[in-house]
Structure formats: C-alpha cells, structure tokens
C-alpha cells in the first residue's frame, strides 16, 4: 500500500473487503498484511491508494438505506471517483452506498452496508477527544507506586500490545 495512505487505529474497515494474510515470524511475533480485494481484482483499482480516493468501509448503526440507492443506481466500477466526491443520487441526502466492483456484496446485511468514505482527511470534520475526570482512590504504597510508575491503581495500565491483562 502506498505511504500516501495512512490507516489509523480505530479506522472503520470492512474485513470482507480485504484479503488478510497473517504470517508467523517464528520468534513469538506475528505479522499481518491487509490488501483491499478491489485494489487487486479490478484493473481500475489495481494501484496504491492516494489521498482523495474513495474506499469501501463498514459503518455500524447506519440508518436504513432507501431502495433507490441500493446497487444498480451507482456508477460502474470503472468510473469510481478519484479525487472527487461521489455522485449524490439519494433524494434525501443520504450518503451513497458503494458496492465493490466486480464482486457481490456477500458480507452485507441490512444496516451493515458499505459506505464510500473520502480518504482525503483534510475534508473530514474535526473530532473532539476527552479524558474523564479521575476519581480519588486509595493510592499504592510508595514502594509499589515508584515501581509501576503511578500511585493510582486506575492508572496502572501496562501496555500489553492488545493482549488481555
């Protein structure tokens, strides 16, 4: 994948749209690679993603899609928009549904559809982060506190690379 395309933690993805290859590095680590199926299977998509590309993703809790925006009303795959917003066909300003070119939509169920998402993050609205207010709790002893790097048990969060504690 091109370096122009920066996935980020928490990025919504549709696993059905990717070929996932997991390799055992035989040293206790594993390596995983994900390749968008569309990018490889369709000539028009067999290139690296660049900012502004429109890629299929899966979004939860999506409102019901009107029938007229279902597959069939969309432009064919070889006109997939690049560096431009998708053609808006929905009468009620709902975001258009994208079906992967050359594929059915096997993983999709109602309320679980692919959306077109503009990967030019400059076009995205800003988000807001928050940190909840800490509550008082019985602190660790000085001995334990210095060892683990905090005197507050709720901040004692050793990083385990996603493994369960």
């Amino acid at each position: 994948m091109s370096n122009n395309y920066e996935p980020y933690i928490g990025m919504p993805i549709d696993l059905d749209a990717y070929d996932v290859q997991i390799s055992d590095l035989s040293d206790g680590r594993i390596s995983s690679e994900m390749w968008p199926k569309d990018m490889l299977s369709d000539d028009n998509w067999s290139r690296d993603l660049v900012p502004g590309d429109l890629v299929p993703v899966e979004m939860p809790l999506r409102p019901e899609t009107p029938a007229q925006t279902r597959p069939g009303n969309r432009p064919p795959a070889n006109t997939a928009p690049v560096n431009s917003p998708p053609v808006q066909e929905s009468p009620n300003q709902q975001r258009p549904v994208h079906q992967r070119p050359g594929h059915g939509n096997p993983g999709s169920e109602p309320g679980n559809c692919d959306l077109i998402v503009d990967t030019n993050f400059n076009n995205w609205p800003l988000a807001m982060a928050y940190v909840p207010m800490q509550s008082w709790e019985e602190p660790y002893t000085p001995d334990k506190g210095l060892n683990v790097g905090t005197i507050f048990p709720s901040l004692d969060l050793p990083f385990r690379g996603g493994l369960k504690r």
Partner: protein
C-alpha cells in the same frame, strides 16, 4: 542493597508520591484526600532527604548546609566513586 541505597531509594519513593499527589491536585485542587496525601508525603520526603544528606552529603546544591558543613558539595566521594 546498602544502607545508602536504601535511604536514597526511600527519598525517591516519597518524592514520587508527593509528585503524583501534586499532579492530581493540578486537576482537582480542592480534593481533601489528595491534599492530605501531598502534605503527608511532603513532610516524609523532606525528613528522608534530610536523613540521607546528613549521612551522605547533599543531593542538590540547595541542600548544602554551608553554615554547618562549609561547601560540602565537593566533598568526596563523587557519585561515580560510591561503591554501593
């Protein structure tokens, strides 16, 4: 662990608790428990520091007791000469 190491480690521990309490208080300056923790460990840390410095010399320039000891900062041993 030598006596010197133990006393120095104690200073580090008590300083750390005081520092943690102060970080908490930066967000919630009126929290009674945090204020109590800060005051308690500020005193304990100062006491432990004083005990260490009386035995092994000043930890910072500011803790040189020049009236009593003269300029003790340059007294032997230097940190790399301490055989812990």
């Amino acid at each position: 662990m030598t006596r010197r190491q133990e006393m120095l480690h104690r200073v580090q521990q008590l300083d750390f608790v005081m520092f943690e309490a102060s970080l908490y208080l930066n967000n919630q300056p009126d929290n009674e428990s945090a204020l109590n923790l800060f005051s308690k460990y500020k005193a304990l840390a100062a006491q432990a520091r004083e005990e260490f410095e009386d035995a092994y010399g000043p930890l910072t320039h500011g803790s040189v007791n020049a009236d009593r000891d003269g300029w003790s900062w340059i007294n032997m041993p230097w940190p790399w000469q301490v055989e812990d």
